[in-house]
Structures are given as structure tokens and as C-alpha cells.
């Protein structure tokens, strides 16, 4: 018996050392932590239960028989984050560059299955050079197994990918299929084909950072949702993000004991919208003043900045926020903003997180480029996502709500539950100047003083449509409220809507205009 125990202890000891002291040292020199060090930061102390620590590959080609490491380059198991059960995996770059093998796949699939069956979130710490070439098609099939489970778990249990190193080739699809991607600055990158292949195929000269660095994926492609300063910050971000998400799609996110008065009225809101309608203001000021102090976690903060999405807490309860950003492109909706908004709405709907929408949008961005790239199809995603969502939905029109954007941004017809408007709201089919030129074209062409007449008609149009009272009169706005009242109003409304249940027609799945 003692021999068996000695063997077991030796194997365990070997597994703990990963690729060995030299490789661990190299990992540290790169400014990176090992898989186990990362898990120690992520999980509550003493909560980790490892599975498959002794698993090794059975490949003998290319000298692989001599390269067997217990665990085979990945650490998987169950643990707790702030007392909440989670399934985790961490790729170990010190073992053969974290290359993705069949055994790695089996280990990841095992905890994916456990996470799905137990209804607990799955967090992956990615740091891998790609597929293990020596394993050939085995490693490709292994990817497929993981992707399949990513898809099946999508919208059932939260899946978070933390990118802490390279992720190239087919491997990128697994993080892309998860709900959120967090990238650590300087150490992480993601791309399908590397700079050398691109150079050979298209002749384009690009380096790794400009091709698939964290800034590119956070600000340009939208593949990543959060940019973290370093590995520690990335892991902290995962813990923070998890606090807004439930364990699975039938439960609610954790509720924090209220710490900000529910009846707090923020006087600054009454003057946040400038008198000049063409003057921008920062929607972040509105959000910060209304929701629980310091609770806003912006998602995609760098990508499509003309829209703002993120999580916050209202009287301790997690909510999702969708807003136009008048400080950027006047808050107009374009292709990227439509993608960003629609994806976020679906995440909130999947995890039963109420949606609060702030509308200040002059419309969809006009332009040949936008039309050529399908702004119609992308804009339709917002309508689809809002209509499909069954969570509580509340909208507040702060200023402009023009044309199609008014309809799309959580209007009554998008199965909205409550529509509020501030007195500064302007709800119309289009802007005054454009409308007058169309409506009074003949009169203006015959007038002795067309400019004066145009000004007169514009003034009349503004008085008629550039306020929320007409919409309230027609029932399209439930209540016109003082901006400072917004917080208590929202809290009271959500208190009522907390138990909202709405069913969609039975179907295999809808056909979202993706």
C-alpha cells in the first residue's frame, strides 16, 4: 500500500511542477503566471478540486513518447469564487506551450459537461500555442468537441474566457463562442492566421499586436469585451463580471444588500441635458447618477463608443443598461453599435437580467459604407433582440428619439414594459429641418422670403413634435418624469416587474438577421 501511495504522491508532485522549474521560470520572465498560480488567484482559498491531474497522452510519434507530463498541459476542476461554485480550466503554457491535445479536450469536455449538468458557470484561462501538431487530426477533432459543448452551454450557464497568452488558429473559436472574453494587455493575442501566413497569402505586412492584440479585439473587432491591464487585473475582472451573472439561466444574479438610498434624487440630472439640442453630453454621467454608486461595469467600453452597454446594480439588484452615447457620433446607431447592443440584450435576456434603455439617438448613421455593409440587417438585430427578450424592459427617452431608432430602441412596440421620458425628450419621425423641407417644399419654393417661412415652419414643427407630451398623449410614453426622479422610479418599477414572465411562441429557433 505504501508503494502505491508513494507513486501517487510522486505523480502528484510532478503534476504540480507542470513543465518543470526551468519552464516555470521562463513563464515568469515573460511576465506571466503559471496555470496553478492563476487558479490560486481566481478561486477561493482551498476550494479547488482538481480532476485529471494524472492524465497523459498516448502518442508515440515525433518523439512524443518521451514527453509525457501528468495533466498534459491543462489544469481542470471545480472551485468557488466568492462562495459560488464554478468549473474552471487553465491551460499550462509550461507544458509543450500549452498545445491543445486530445487529452486536454477530454479534460475540458469533462468539466464542461459537469458545469452544464450542475448549472454552474465555466471559466477558462487560455494560454496555448494552438493545436498539438504531433497529434494531427486528433487535436482538430478535439477542438470540435469543445466547440460543441460551448454551443450547448451557451445561454444556459455563463461562460467566461480569460485570454492570458496566445490563442491562434481554430482555438480562437472556443473563446468566441463563450459569453465574455477578457484580454490581458501585452500578454494576450488572438488570430485565425498569423502575420507570416497573411504576408504570404495577401501580401499585407502586419505585426502580432496590430493583427490580434488586445486593443484590436477590444476596440476594433469587438471579439473581446474587456481589456485588463495585466493578468491579475484580468482575473479580478472575471470575478467582478461573475458577480453580475447568475449561476445558470433559471436563477437570478446575486443580490447585494442595498447601500445606496432607493429614494435618492440626483439634482444634477435635471440639468445634465444641455439646452442646445446639438450640444453633446456624456451618458456615463446619467448612468453614474442613477444606479448604485460605483456599480457600473461597462462591457465593450472601447468598441462602438456611440453606444454604451454594461451591467450595474439598482437597489442591489443586477440590471443591464443599454444607452446611446450623445458624446460620440451624436449617439447615432451604426453597424458596430447595432451588433454591440443586440448581443448585450440577448445576454441579459438569457440570464434573466432586467434591461434599462436610455435613448438619445438621432437615427441610424447615414452613409454609403454603412448601407453597403448591411446596416439594415445589423440594425434589424436590435429590433429582433428587444422583441425576443422576455426580461423586464424599461426605457427612458432623455432627448432625441428619431425615426427608426425610436422604434428599435425599446419602444412600446418592442414589447417594452414601461416607457418613461424626460421633459427634454424629442420624439419625431425626423429632424425639424429635414421634415419642413419635405412637407413644405412647394410653399417654400413660392415664398417671397423662403428662409423666414422655413424658420416659421421649423418652429411650428418643434412645438408640435419636439417634446414628449404628444407621445405621452398617444400612450407611447407611460409617464413624463423629472430627470432627478429616475432612480426611485426605476426601482419601484423593477420591484413590480421582478416577477415578470413572458412566453414566446414555441419554435426550434428564430432566424435572427445575423
Amino acid at each position: 500500500m505504501s508503494d502505491y501511495l508513494t507513486t501517487l504522491r510522486e505523480l502528484r508532485e510532478k503534476a504540480l511542477k507542470g513543465g518543470g522549474p526551468k519552464r516555470i521560470e521562463q513563464q515568469h520572465e515573460r511576465g506571466k503566471l503559471t496555470a496553478r498560480e492563476r487558479l490560486a488567484l481566481l478561486l477561493d482559498e482551498g476550494s479547488f478540486q482538481e480532476f485529471g491531474a494524472l492524465a497523459t497522452h498516448n502518442i508515440t510519434d515525433f518523439g512524443m513518447a518521451d514527453q509525457r507530463y501528468p495533466g498534459d498541459g491543462i489544469v481542470t476542476g471545480l472551485g468557488k469564487i466568492n462562495g459560488r461554485r464554478v468549473a474552471v480550466f487553465a491551460q499550462d503554457f509550461t507544458v509543450m506551450g500549452g498545445s491543445f491535445s486530445e487529452v486536454q479536450s477530454h479534460k475540458i469536455c469533462r468539466i464542461q459537461d459537469l458545469a452544464l449538468e450542475s448549472g454552474i458557470p465555466l471559466i477558462g484561462l487560455n494560454d496555448s500555442g494552438g493545436a498539438r501538431i504531433q497529434e494531427g487530426v486528433r487535436s482538430l477533432a478535439a477542438y470540435g468537441e469543445v466547440f460543441q459543448r460551448n454551443v450547448l452551454a451557451s445561454g444556459v450557464v455563463p461562460q467566461i474566457s480569460v485570454m492570458l497568452g496566445p490563442c491562434a488558429g481554430g482555438a480562437v473559436y472556443s473563446p468566441a463562442l463563450t459569453d465574455f472574453v477578457i484580454m490581458a494587455r501585452d500578454t494576450s493575442f488572438m488570430f485565425l492566421t498569423g502575420p507570416e501566413v497573411i504576408k504570404a497569402v495577401t501580401g499585407e505586412d502586419v505585426n502580432v499586436a496590430n493583427l490580434g492584440g488586445p486593443l484590436i479585439h477590444n476596440c476594433r473587432s469587438g471579439v473581446a469585451h474587456f481589456l485588463a491591464a495585466n493578468e491579475h487585473a484580468a482575473i479580478s475582472m472575471a470575478k467582478l463580471l461573475l458577480s453580475y451573472l447568475p449561476q445558470n439561466n433559471t436563477e437570478d444574479p446575486p443580490q447585494v444588500a442595498p447601500y445606496d438610498p432607493a429614494d435618492r434624487m440626483e439634482e444634477s440630472l435635471n440639468s445634465v441635458v444641455p439646452a442646445n439640442e446639438n450640444e453633446p453630453y456624456d451618458m456615463h454621467l446619467v448612468i453614474d447618477a442613477i444606479f448604485d454608486r460605483d456599480s457600473f461595469l461597462e462591457v465593450h467600453s472601447c468598441y462602438a463608443p456611440n453606444a454604451v452597454v454594461g451591467f450595474a446594480r439598482l437597489d442591489g439588484q443586477a440590471v443591464g443598461i443599454v444607452a446611446n452615447q450623445p458624446a460620440h457620433m451624436s449617439g447615432a446607431l451604426d453597424i458596430d453599435a447595432s451588433d454591440k447592443i443586440s448581443r448585450f440584450i440577448r445576454i441579459c435576456d438569457a440570464y434573466s437580467i432586467p434591461l434599462i434603455t436610455f435613448v438619445d439617438c438621432p437615427g441610424f448613421l447615414p452613409g454609403v459604407d454603412q448601407e453597403y455593409h448591411g446596416v439594415i440587417r445589423h440594425g434589424a438585430k436590435i429590433i429582433y433582440a428587444y422583441t425576443e427578450a422576455t426580461v423586464p424592459k424599461i426605457s427612458i427617452v432623455t432627448r432625441k428619439a428619431m425615426g427608426g431608432s425610436y422604434v428599435a430602441m425599446s419602444s412600446k412596440q418592442m414589447r417594452n414594459d414601461l416607457a418613461y421620458a424626460w421633459p427634454t425628450a424629442q420624439i419625431a419621425v425626423m429632424g425639424a429641418e429635414g421634415a419642413v423641407r419635405i412637407l413644405f417644399r412647394q410653399e417654400l419654393s413660392k415664398a417671397e422670403d423662403p428662409a423666414a417661412m422655413e424658420r416659421k415652419y421649423i418652429q411650428e414643427y418643434r412645438e408640435m413634435f419636439f417634446n414628449p407630451f404628444r407621445a405621452a398623449d398617444l400612450g407611447q410614453i407611460d409617464e413624463v418624469i423629472e430627470p432627478r426622479e429616475t432612480r426611485p422610479r426605476l426601482i419601484r418599477a423593477l420591484e413590480v416587474l421582478r416577477t415578470k414572465v413572458q412566453q414566446n411562441p414555441t419554435k426550434k429557433h428564430g432566424l435572427m438577421p445575423v
Binding site: N82, G83, R84, V156, K239, L240, L242, S243, Y244, P246, Q247, N248, N249, T250, E251, D252, P253, P254, Q255, V256, A257, P258, Y259, D294, S295, G316, S352, T390, R498, T499, V501, Q502, Q503, N504, T506
Partner: protein
């Protein structure tokens, strides 16, 4: 036996019986009194144990104001991090708590998700 003798005998028996009962009651009372006296804790001297215990005099800890400020900031920051991460000490409900979920919501969500049938089940 004449009527007078019978009455006298009855009276004697009554007096004897009742007297015996009262004597026994007096003896019992006396016994209880003695037992209570014996069981009572000894009387304390006047003033003994009344004065509250004086706390041990603490030596004033002199920390530099900068250190005190840093400690305060660290405590508040830690609390803010715990709150932001919805740590157990900051939660009003445990995630998935039965106390929190209403039957209406639980039933509704079940209906919303009932079209999922894992393979082999």
C-alpha cells in the same frame, strides 16, 4: 354507649387527627426553612462585587496619521471590492436561493426553457 360518649369519642378522634396533621405541617415547614437557610449562599459584605471591573488601562497607540489614513483607505477599498464582487458578506440573497425565487417565476422560467432535451434523456 350513650350518645354523649359517642360524640366525645368522635370529637377526640377529630381533634387527634387534625392535631396530628397540623403538627406534621409545622414540622415540614420547619424542615423547609432549615433547608433554605442551609442552601442560601453566604451573604456578601457590603459593596463587594458591586463596583464594575475596571478595564485594563490601554496604552495609547501612536500611529502616524499617514498610516492611519492608509489603513482607512485600505479598509474602505477592500469593502468596496467585496461589494462590487458581491461577496457573501455583501449579499442579501444567496444566488438561486429558494427564499428569493417566487413559484411564479420558477414555473415561468421552466416553461421558457422546456424545449431543451439533452440527448439520451
Amino acid at each position: 354507649m350513650t350518645l354523649a360518649e359517642r360524640l366525645t369519642t368522635g370529637l377526640n378522634i377529630t381533634i387527634l387527627g387534625m392535631g396530628l396533621v397540623f403538627v406534621l405541617l409545622v414540622l415540614l415547614w420547619a424542615l423547609l426553612t432549615v433547608m433554605l437557610r442551609l442552601d442560601r449562599p453566604p451573604a456578601r459584605e457590603a459593596g463587594e462585587g458591586i463596583a464594575p471591573a475596571q478595564p485594563a488601562a490601554r496604552k495609547p497607540v501612536k500611529l502616524p496619521p499617514e498610516l492611519l489614513s492608509a489603513i482607512a483607505v485600505a479598509v474602505f477599498t477592500h469593502q468596496a471590492v467585496l461589494r462590487k464582487q458581491a461577496a457573501p458578506s455583501m449579499r442579501s440573497h444567496w444566488p438561486g436561493s429558494i427564499l428569493f425565487a417566487s413559484r411564479w417565476v420558477a414555473g415561468g422560467r421552466h416553461q421558457q426553457t422546456q424545449n431543451w432535451h439533452p440527448r439520451g434523456r
